[in-house]
Symmetry: C2
Subunit: 343 residues, 2 copies
């Protein structure tokens, strides 16, 4: 039987405490952060099938329903999301994947807090070992949360089923940018090879994730790129989606992050920004760094957050002023890094 | 000592004959097809460093110089290309990589034919075992020619140097579409993991290959996408680059294939076409299939060639007529496959 120890006393760097927890309980509910991404969902899929195969009762309940991009996961794995008034599934243990705090689950987090399940955390983010889990498996070096769930399969000596392998692969490709980001290490690529052996069709997964766009997406992308501008000696590029284009993109389920990619592919570029005008007039800003500029520091000055290479903020300014404000912050960051910024 | 046997008598499915050839000779010249792609160049890099490390004399001579996309290879590996009047390096053995016929080398092929070197072939294309090589290592199942050169390193028990690992990785990512195409198997991904262990920085390689675009490339892409059209119930999409845009793309070193990607990412699409108007008025057609339609068969009807999923042709028609002609062929192919083509 597992003793419910404070997390500081448990070793979160090995899967052992989580494995003991699994052995000692029969019912589990899996969840993760709001707007769950590929890593969060893929890790849930892989853990669902592990627990199910061990004869446990298990349910996935997320703050948000599956978006169209990820709807294919439902063919092998039951997903559900919070509905106001509907009861949560009874479970001894709540497992948070790809996050470590109930506050990241919005209203669902409040419901879970009231339900007082035992909480376990599986995550690869820095600091998650100090999260809401009383048991945790946290590895900052792991390319994805899904690869930590793969460790559990391995530790139990079980061969991944094809749906579980697809889940781990989804996690991996989501968090490595399909093996393009700097976290693409030998471990990630070798694991991907094992997952293909376990039944994943990499090409079909790519098509499912990235090649089911709506017809209007081509013109939306073209329109946004035509309006893109380069500033600061070609080191800063940005595109804007006005209210009408944001609405078109939403109707077409278009992933607007795609607009930043051709800008990020420019030789001299250091920082890319995307400005999206919301219905309420506020500007949603996304920032991406190609080289060493810390866009999290820029976003933080504007009241936002994120990571060093990908960050965002919400600006309550007319779009022209928002652009000027961001350009000024980027100019300062480039100058601080000793780079030319043009006239 | 190697006996110069007709290829029909040698076993081209193992690296042994090529290894014997290497052991028995001191000087090698490496070459490949015209407009060498990443697989051809990467395989040459990997073989250059293997032979060099074995104390052999070795030179790379290609039909065409390195394009800007691949210029970074020259920092570790000397490349040269045919210059009219300049002598070819003297070598006992000519190794053709990623092709099997001297005719694929254009004028350089004629020069090599006259030089009468012994010819070896390393390739992964169907039929290459019947090429111009008197010795060959051909594996149709290999994801890239570079992975066959990796086999030679392994067979000789030598650890890949970082430049050689980068060469094999370039081959792999070129021919698997950065691990997205249907030839992305477990072997390809595990090999990629080994190459990262041997010193390849996957993220840096991606940036070198795909993120050194010129400023104008964003607007060229936007302009081409704005003009893209969908036909045949959304199953056929095309974009056109008129003479002016083709010229802009050439000045910006812009890889126009990129224009087809957003069209290929549409849910219903089966066939994508790109029409490029050349300076002489002829239309260069590129075709890509997403599903099962054989675009090689379509291109062949128009006097072109290629593969099932990627083909092309040159059409001597005004652009509007070229579009009509291609649309008609695509319509017939879709109907033959039992697909709707709209009104």
């Amino acid at each position: 039987l597992v003793v419910h120890v404070p997390i500081a006393d448990a070793d979160s760097s090995t899967p052992r405490p989580i494995l003991d927890l699994i052995a000692a309980h029969q019912s589990f509910v899996l969840s993760g952060h709001e707007n769950p991404d590929g890593d969060c969902l893929g890790a849930q899929v892989a853990l669902y099938h592990l627990l199910h195969g061990l004869g446990k009762r298990v349910a996935i309940v997320n703050p948000d329903p599956l978006t169209r991009t990820y709807d294919f996961l439902a063919r092998h794995t039951p997903f559900s999301s919070l509905r106001p008034g509907a009861p949560l599934p009874a479970a001894e243990v709540l497992v948070l994947l790809d996050c470590a705090w109930l506050s990241r689950l919005g209203k669902l987090g409040e419901r879970f807090a009231a339900a007082r399940n035992k909480i376990a955390v599986i995550d690869h983010h820095v600091g998650s070992e100090r999260g809401d889990g009383s048991v945790a498996y946290v590895d900052h070096e792991a390319p994805a949360t899904g690869s930590l769930v793969h460790d559990l399969w391995q530790a139990l000596g079980r061969a991944l089923t094809p749906p579980a392998a697809e889940g781990v692969m989804l996690s991996l490709v989501a968090d490595t940018g399909w093996f393009r980001y700097s976290n693409t290490d030998a471990r990630a690529l070798k694991l991907a090879g094992q997952l293909v052996e376990a039944g994943v069709d990499a090409c079909a997964l790519y098509d499912r994730l990235h090649r089911r766009n709506q017809p209007d997406s081509v013109e939306i992308l073209g329109t946004a790129l035509i309006g893109a501008r380069l500033r600061l000696d070609g080191r800063f590029g940005y595109a804007c989606l006005d209210r009408a284009l944001v609405e078109r993109a939403a109707r077409a389920d278009f992933d607007t992050d795609v607009v930043m990619e051709p800008l990020r592919s420019l030789d001299r570029i250091e920082v890319v920004a995307l400005f999206k005008e919301r219905q309420d007039g506020a500007i949603k800003l996304s920032l991406r760094a190609k080289g060493g500029i810390d866009v999290h520091a820029i976003a933080a000055q504007l009241g936002g957050g994120g990571h060093k290479k990908a960050a965002g903020a919400t600006l309550r300014l007319p779009i022209a002023q928002a652009i000027t404000a961001v350009e000024q912050k980027v100019r300062e960051a480039l100058q601080a890094a000793g780079m030319s910024v043009g006239p």
